[in-house]
Protein backbone atom coordinates (compact mmCIF):
# COMPACT_ATOMS: atom_id res chain seq x y z
CA UNK A 1 0.00 0.00 0.00
CA UNK A 2 1.21 3.48 -0.87
CA UNK A 3 2.28 5.66 2.03
CA UNK A 4 0.45 8.97 2.22
CA UNK A 5 2.18 12.02 3.68
CA UNK A 6 0.61 15.43 4.17
CA UNK A 7 2.74 18.22 5.56
CA UNK A 8 1.17 21.28 7.19
CA UNK A 9 3.53 24.11 8.05
CA UNK A 10 0.84 26.73 8.70
CA UNK A 11 1.26 26.59 12.50
CA UNK A 12 4.00 29.03 13.59
CA UNK A 13 5.40 26.65 16.22
CA UNK A 14 4.88 23.13 14.91
CA UNK A 15 5.12 21.53 11.50
CA UNK A 16 2.66 18.64 11.29
CA UNK A 17 3.20 15.60 9.12
CA UNK A 18 0.17 13.34 8.73
CA UNK A 19 1.14 9.75 7.87
CA UNK A 20 -1.33 7.34 6.22
CA UNK A 21 -1.01 3.69 5.25
CA UNK A 22 1.60 1.08 6.03
CA UNK A 23 4.99 2.09 7.36
CA UNK A 24 7.50 -0.65 6.62
CA UNK A 25 10.84 -1.25 4.89
CA UNK A 26 9.32 -0.32 1.52
CA UNK A 27 7.60 2.90 2.52
CA UNK A 28 9.69 4.17 5.46
CA UNK A 29 12.38 5.85 3.26
CA UNK A 30 9.68 8.24 2.01
CA UNK A 31 8.96 9.37 5.58
CA UNK A 32 12.69 9.66 6.30
CA UNK A 33 13.12 11.98 3.30
CA UNK A 34 10.14 14.09 4.36
CA UNK A 35 11.50 14.47 7.92
CA UNK A 36 14.97 15.37 6.64
CA UNK A 37 13.46 17.94 4.29
CA UNK A 38 11.46 19.58 7.08
CA UNK A 39 14.56 19.81 9.29
CA UNK A 40 16.63 21.21 6.42
CA UNK A 41 13.92 23.85 5.87
CA UNK A 42 14.52 24.97 9.45
CA UNK A 43 11.60 23.31 11.24
CA UNK A 44 12.61 22.17 14.72
CA UNK A 45 9.30 21.26 16.36
CA UNK A 46 7.57 18.48 14.45
CA UNK A 47 4.46 16.45 15.12
CA UNK A 48 3.91 13.18 13.28
CA UNK A 49 0.22 12.25 13.27
CA UNK A 50 0.09 8.44 13.10
CA UNK A 51 -3.67 8.02 13.56
CA UNK A 52 -4.12 6.81 9.97
CA UNK A 53 -1.13 4.43 10.06
CA UNK A 54 -2.49 0.92 9.53
CA UNK A 55 0.77 -0.93 10.07
CA UNK A 56 4.09 -0.02 11.66
CA UNK A 57 7.14 -2.25 11.97
CA UNK A 58 10.63 -1.70 13.33
CA UNK A 59 11.89 -0.10 10.11
CA UNK A 60 9.18 2.55 10.36
CA UNK A 61 9.95 2.92 14.04
CA UNK A 62 13.63 3.35 13.20
CA UNK A 63 12.82 6.27 10.91
CA UNK A 64 10.87 7.96 13.70
CA UNK A 65 13.77 7.37 16.12
CA UNK A 66 16.16 8.81 13.53
CA UNK A 67 13.93 11.86 13.13
CA UNK A 68 13.74 12.35 16.89
CA UNK A 69 17.51 12.08 17.20
CA UNK A 70 18.08 14.56 14.39
CA UNK A 71 15.67 17.07 15.89
CA UNK A 72 16.92 16.74 19.48
CA UNK A 73 20.47 17.31 18.30
CA UNK A 74 19.14 20.58 16.84
CA UNK A 75 17.31 21.56 20.06
CA UNK A 76 14.04 20.41 18.57
CA UNK A 77 11.58 17.59 19.14
CA UNK A 78 9.40 15.11 17.32
CA UNK A 79 6.09 14.47 19.05
CA UNK A 80 3.58 11.83 17.98
CA UNK A 81 -0.19 11.57 17.80
CA UNK A 82 -1.42 8.02 18.16
CA UNK A 83 -4.21 6.11 19.90
CA UNK A 84 -4.17 2.91 17.87
CA UNK A 85 -3.30 -0.11 20.03
CA UNK A 86 -1.61 -2.01 17.18
CA UNK A 87 0.77 0.90 16.56
CA UNK A 88 1.29 1.80 20.22
CA UNK A 89 2.14 -1.82 20.94
CA UNK A 90 5.31 -1.52 18.84
CA UNK A 91 6.42 1.47 20.94
CA UNK A 92 5.53 -0.41 24.15
CA UNK A 93 7.49 -3.56 23.30
CA UNK A 94 10.59 -1.63 22.28
CA UNK A 95 10.40 0.64 25.31
CA UNK A 96 10.12 3.74 23.15
CA UNK A 97 6.85 4.92 24.68
CA UNK A 98 8.90 6.77 27.25
CA UNK A 99 11.25 8.27 24.67
CA UNK A 100 8.60 9.97 22.51
CA UNK A 101 5.97 12.43 23.65
CA UNK A 102 2.82 10.65 22.48
CA UNK A 103 -0.54 12.48 22.53
CA UNK A 104 -4.06 11.24 21.85
CA UNK A 105 -5.09 14.15 19.69
CA UNK A 106 -3.38 16.68 17.47
CA UNK A 107 -4.82 19.43 19.68
CA UNK A 108 -3.10 17.93 22.73
CA UNK A 109 0.16 17.61 20.83
CA UNK A 110 -0.04 21.22 19.67
CA UNK A 111 -0.72 22.34 23.24
CA UNK A 112 2.64 20.79 24.17
Amino acid sequence: MELGLNVDTSNPTYAVIVVRGELDVYSAPKLREALIELVSEGHRQLIADLEAVEFLDSTGLGVLVGGLKRLRSNDGDLALVCTQPRVLKVFDITGLTSVFRISSTLEDALAG
Binding site: M1, E22, D24, V25, Y26, F55, D57, S58, T59, L61, G62, V63, V65, G66, L68, K69, R72, P85, R86, K89, V90, I93, T94, G95, L96, S98, V99
Partner: protein
Protein backbone atom coordinates in the same frame (compact mmCIF):
# COMPACT_ATOMS: atom_id res chain seq x y z
CA UNK B 1 -1.62 -28.62 5.23
CA UNK B 2 1.17 -26.31 4.11
CA UNK B 3 1.77 -23.48 1.70
CA UNK B 4 4.99 -22.04 0.31
CA UNK B 5 5.46 -18.58 -1.13
CA UNK B 6 8.64 -17.50 -2.88
CA UNK B 7 9.05 -13.78 -3.54
CA UNK B 8 11.82 -11.63 -5.00
CA UNK B 9 14.17 -10.23 -2.39
CA UNK B 10 12.78 -6.70 -2.66
CA UNK B 11 11.15 -4.50 -0.06
CA UNK B 12 7.84 -4.12 -1.92
CA UNK B 13 7.17 -7.86 -1.45
CA UNK B 14 7.28 -7.75 2.36
CA UNK B 15 3.67 -6.53 2.41
CA UNK B 16 2.64 -9.41 0.11
CA UNK B 17 4.13 -12.02 2.43
CA UNK B 18 2.65 -10.60 5.63
CA UNK B 19 -0.79 -10.27 4.00
CA UNK B 20 -0.76 -13.87 2.74
CA UNK B 21 0.31 -15.25 6.13
CA UNK B 22 -2.21 -13.06 7.97
CA UNK B 23 -4.99 -14.14 5.58
CA UNK B 24 -4.16 -17.79 6.14
CA UNK B 25 -4.13 -17.32 9.91
CA UNK B 26 -7.39 -15.36 9.83
CA UNK B 27 -9.13 -17.89 7.64
CA UNK B 28 -8.03 -21.12 9.25
CA UNK B 29 -7.00 -20.47 12.86
CA UNK B 30 -9.00 -19.42 15.84
CA UNK B 31 -6.70 -16.57 16.77
CA UNK B 32 -7.78 -13.25 18.24
CA UNK B 33 -7.40 -10.22 15.99
CA UNK B 34 -4.50 -8.85 18.03
CA UNK B 35 -2.67 -12.19 17.69
CA UNK B 36 -3.09 -11.98 13.91
CA UNK B 37 -1.60 -8.46 14.11
CA UNK B 38 1.32 -9.88 16.14
CA UNK B 39 1.96 -12.55 13.51
CA UNK B 40 1.74 -10.01 10.70
CA UNK B 41 4.32 -7.81 12.41
CA UNK B 42 6.63 -10.75 13.18
CA UNK B 43 6.49 -11.91 9.55
CA UNK B 44 7.25 -8.38 8.36
CA UNK B 45 10.31 -8.22 10.62
CA UNK B 46 11.59 -11.64 9.52
CA UNK B 47 11.11 -10.81 5.82
CA UNK B 48 12.86 -7.47 6.21
CA UNK B 49 15.83 -9.25 7.81
CA UNK B 50 15.81 -11.92 5.08
CA UNK B 51 15.94 -9.32 2.31
CA UNK B 52 18.79 -7.54 4.10
CA UNK B 53 20.68 -10.85 4.50
CA UNK B 54 20.38 -11.62 0.77
CA UNK B 55 21.40 -8.06 -0.12
CA UNK B 56 24.48 -8.16 2.14
CA UNK B 57 25.50 -11.45 0.52
CA UNK B 58 25.09 -9.88 -2.93
CA UNK B 59 22.54 -12.55 -3.86
CA UNK B 60 19.53 -12.23 -6.09
CA UNK B 61 17.94 -15.16 -4.25
CA UNK B 62 14.26 -15.22 -3.28
CA UNK B 63 12.83 -15.01 0.20
CA UNK B 64 10.76 -18.12 0.89
CA UNK B 65 7.86 -18.11 3.33
CA UNK B 66 6.40 -21.45 4.37
CA UNK B 67 3.40 -22.13 6.59
CA UNK B 68 2.51 -25.44 8.22
CA UNK B 69 -0.73 -26.03 10.02
CA UNK B 70 -0.99 -28.53 12.85
CA UNK B 71 -4.09 -29.04 14.98
CA UNK B 72 -2.79 -26.90 17.81
CA UNK B 73 -0.39 -24.55 16.08
CA UNK B 74 0.60 -22.62 12.98
CA UNK B 75 4.27 -22.57 12.06
CA UNK B 76 5.72 -19.95 9.72
CA UNK B 77 9.25 -20.15 8.35
CA UNK B 78 10.99 -17.28 6.57
CA UNK B 79 14.15 -18.36 4.74
CA UNK B 80 16.96 -16.45 3.07
CA UNK B 81 20.22 -17.48 1.38
CA UNK B 82 22.45 -14.99 3.18
CA UNK B 83 25.64 -15.64 5.11
CA UNK B 84 23.90 -16.52 8.37
CA UNK B 85 24.37 -15.12 11.86
CA UNK B 86 24.77 -16.23 15.44
CA UNK B 87 21.52 -15.41 17.27
CA UNK B 88 23.17 -15.54 20.70
CA UNK B 89 25.66 -12.89 19.58
CA UNK B 90 22.98 -10.24 19.12
CA UNK B 91 23.85 -7.20 21.20
CA UNK B 92 21.37 -5.84 23.66
CA UNK B 93 20.13 -2.30 23.29
CA UNK B 94 20.90 0.28 25.97
CA UNK B 95 18.16 1.12 28.44
CA UNK B 96 15.58 3.56 27.12
CA UNK B 97 16.75 6.15 29.63
CA UNK B 98 20.24 6.05 28.13
CA UNK B 99 20.80 8.79 25.52
CA UNK B 100 22.71 6.19 23.50
CA UNK B 101 19.38 4.42 22.97
CA UNK B 102 18.56 6.82 20.13
CA UNK B 103 21.57 5.53 18.20
CA UNK B 104 19.74 2.25 17.68
CA UNK B 105 17.52 2.93 14.72
CA UNK B 106 17.89 -0.66 13.57
CA UNK B 107 18.22 -4.08 15.14
CA UNK B 108 14.83 -3.96 16.83
CA UNK B 109 13.38 -6.69 14.62
CA UNK B 110 14.44 -9.86 16.41
CA UNK B 111 13.57 -8.59 19.92
CA UNK B 112 10.17 -7.64 18.51
CA UNK B 113 9.60 -11.05 16.91
CA UNK B 114 10.61 -12.74 20.15
CA UNK B 115 7.94 -10.89 22.09
CA UNK B 116 5.22 -11.35 19.46
CA UNK B 117 5.20 -15.07 18.68
CA UNK B 118 4.74 -18.05 20.99
CA UNK B 119 7.96 -19.74 19.93
CA UNK B 120 10.94 -18.58 17.88
CA UNK B 121 13.77 -20.69 16.51
CA UNK B 122 16.66 -19.97 14.18
CA UNK B 123 18.49 -22.31 11.85
CA UNK B 124 21.42 -20.33 10.56
CA UNK B 125 24.26 -21.64 8.41
CA UNK B 126 26.69 -19.91 6.03
CA UNK B 127 24.23 -20.88 3.27
CA UNK B 128 21.24 -19.15 4.77
CA UNK B 129 18.95 -18.57 7.69
CA UNK B 130 15.53 -19.98 8.53
CA UNK B 131 13.44 -18.17 11.10
CA UNK B 132 10.73 -20.40 12.55
CA UNK B 133 7.82 -18.71 14.26
CA UNK B 134 5.02 -20.59 16.02
CA UNK B 135 1.59 -19.39 17.03
CA UNK B 136 -0.45 -21.74 19.18
CA UNK B 137 -4.19 -21.99 18.72
CA UNK B 138 -5.97 -24.54 16.59
CA UNK B 139 -8.80 -24.12 14.13
CA UNK B 140 -11.40 -25.16 16.67
CA UNK B 141 -9.81 -24.16 19.96
CA UNK B 142 -11.35 -21.39 21.96
CA UNK B 143 -9.32 -18.81 23.85
CA UNK B 144 -9.18 -20.98 26.96
CA UNK B 145 -7.68 -23.95 25.11
CA UNK B 146 -5.24 -21.70 23.30
CA UNK B 147 -4.03 -20.26 26.59
CA UNK B 148 -3.56 -23.72 28.09
CA UNK B 149 -1.56 -24.90 25.07
CA UNK B 150 0.55 -21.75 25.12
CA UNK B 151 1.25 -22.18 28.81
CA UNK B 152 2.11 -25.86 28.62
CA UNK B 153 4.03 -25.93 25.35
CA UNK B 154 5.38 -22.40 25.29
CA UNK B 155 6.40 -22.41 28.92
CA UNK B 156 5.06 -18.94 29.72
Amino acid sequence: MSIELSVPSRSEYVAVVRLVVASLATGTRNLAADRIDDLKLAVSEACTNAIEANRKAGLDAPVVASCWEAPERLEVCIADSGAGFEPSALSAHPEVTDPERLNFERGLGIPLIRSLVDDLRFESTPQGTKVWMTMFGGPDSGDETTEIVRTVVGGD
